[in-house]
Amino acid sequence: MDTTDRKDSVAKIKEAHRLLKRYEYTPQKIQRGYTNKTLYINISDNTIKSKDVPEEIKDKFTGGKGLGLWYLWNSVTKDTKWDDPENEIIISPGPVGGITQYPGAGKSLVVSLSPTTGSVMDSNVGGHFGPLMKFSGWDALEIQGKAKEDIIIYIDGNKGIVEIYEVPIGPVNSHILAEEVTEFFAESEEEKRNISVISAGEAAEHTLFGVLNFSFYDRRKKVQRLKQAGRGGIGTVFRNKKIKAIAVKYNGVKGDSNNPADIDTIRKLGLKLHKEIKEHDKDQCRMREIGTAHLVEIMDDYDLLPVHNFKYGSHEEAYKIDSKVLAKKVVQGSPDGCWHGCSMSCAKAVQDYELKTGPYKGHKVVVDGPEYETVAGVGSNCGIFDPDYIIECNFYCDTYGIDTISFGTTMAFLMECYENNILNKEITGGIELNFGNKDAAMEVLHQMAKGTGFGKIAGLGVRRIKNLLIEKYGADPKFLNDIGMEVKGLEYSQYVSKESLAQQGGYALANKGPQHDEAWLIFMDMVNNQIPTFEDKAEALHYFPIFRTWFGLNGLCKLPWNDIEPPDNHLTDEPAKVPEHVENYVQLFNSVTGKNIDKEEMILQSERVYNFQRVFNLKMGFGTREHDIPPYRSMGPVTEEEYLSRQERYDKQLKELVGVNPEKMSTAEKIEALREYKYKQYDKLVDAVYKRRGWNKNGIPTVELMKKLGMDFPEVIKLIEEHSSE
């Protein structure tokens, strides 16, 4: 869309919009990372109010995801569904979020009940919204209710104004909407950089895995770039509430806007990491050059890159979509942090990409990404090795508001169903969903946006599609449950975990469902063989998920922790923990808040929230052992072709690990024997992990643990006691 068109469109919106509510407030000055106020908005009756954040709640939940879980817990009952007005969307950056000196300090954490899991979901996202919202006076934004017509919520952090507008006309898709909303609220060209917009898109309305796009204004390209709160369908909740956009404007970000206790230490820590990244990133992960997509060829080499719905871990055509190819597609030499001071700069952009399909065919656009997850998800996992398809699919997923991870895993599952005649052209409406058919995948994506045809089925996600195919089309439940890559209703992210028992647990035990942000142990476990025993694996599955939770309490990004490492890290006692960077985080927290935590207290902060989230799952009818079981595709070969493709490896495992002689067995028998062994191993792992975490055999945190953590709220204890006596 050119500038004149946009100005026309914005003029029309200005004419059509109607102010529903205006709320004025005196922006709280931030004290050591906290404003101590939460903005509550009920969009059913347009109530807007300011809530205090008590010290006790800060002590127990820290901030970010912790605050979000607490507010949601108090808003929903065990019977609340994702599309009930009671469900909330809570956005919070956490106390460290908003500092400008240390890389990766601008994350927002979003919490809501998920359409795909039915339980509590958390998703982290970059972009400027969270910090600008905090500088506007709010530790968290809590949205409840449902609007009657499409609305836009606006926060002006300098004037102290919150407004709700009814905006019945205009675009919904994010790449246009984010620009128009920015244009709408910017009083000058210069102000655009101080505006961040949250939006979803048309497909978020018609599928269950909608994302929220959080923008940051790219000063060089003069465009709102989009980062996604991708997992678990919170964008779907957003559109179901008839929210079109939430915008914040705050002019005047400075190095001390977060008003930390000790800015000097923060500056020293930040500068040290900037230098580390400058010196070593080019020899380590090349984040500044290509971002997370550097992993494509590494994963392919280790047989970990998902191919054909996670059947295989590598493919001879993977070189066509590897980081060397993608590095030529994205703009080089342009620092692309999604918040100030992120010298890791993993965000990448393809500029002037001319779209080949869909409603914007022929338009030249800026596409964010592609990140590793997107390349693997919509590319290799679907058997599509075409970088332009990946970029186009990335663009449409973003603007339509769809999670590229869930889209990729769902599409790969559908393709395998199609190749096994579980799906056919009658069901797909004539679409030939073979692996590698990029036109077919793209068509389904456009259908998802319109809510038409097979897109309606595809947008349900793996769990619901499995049930539909079983119930309506008589598909074999065992096979579908084996190949449907979901746990708890959430689709897997893009790593093959077959050869790493710890990662099988990392995925299937994760609180929100199989997303690797909780635990990523493949290198430690499979490649390096550093955690060989069940106890070692259980320790890793205790420490790392808990440690990683901490980023989400504080508005931090995980990448600068271990995608850059000090050159002498391998000489430390526990290199996998990156001790020097952990110490940085302890000091960062203390320098912002003025508190005096150590690395043990840091773990306790996380443990409180992690266990609370587990009990939250219990409250919603989940959170027990039966919900922690992975599909067999994530553990071993389901089909004969899959077994035979790595026969030598699997035969060896039968001989050495299972203790049977594969020579006299049929492939089917071998598959069965391996499967039995792998599930037994998994069961032993789960026992060890539950024990290490202080949970009972059914995966429920004990009353003693919750008391020790100070999370023994009466409702929590009641829930645990009810379920433990069953």
Partner: protein, 65 residues
């Protein structure tokens, strides 16, 4: 027979660290290699010959996902 990350592997006369990394498809540039506890710097991969019964550890240090 050699041991690599506590797993048995066949020994081949004359194999270097570089050969071993290629066999294993370890393409990440920044690995930590030790032979019988002794650290082998990257520039020595090509000239370091592996002996039978060597105990080798290859650590991929950066934690990925």
């Amino acid at each position: 027979m050699i041991r690599v990350n506590q797993r048995d592997m066949d020994f081949r006369e004359g194999m270097t660290v570089k050969n071993l990394l290629e066999d294993l498809k370890y393409s990440f540039p920044n690995l930590i290699v030790r032979i019988n506890g002794e650290y082998i710097p990257r520039e020595s991969y090509e000239k370091t010959v592996i002996k039978d019964n060597d105990d080798i550890s290859i650590i991929h240090p950066i934690a990925g996902g």
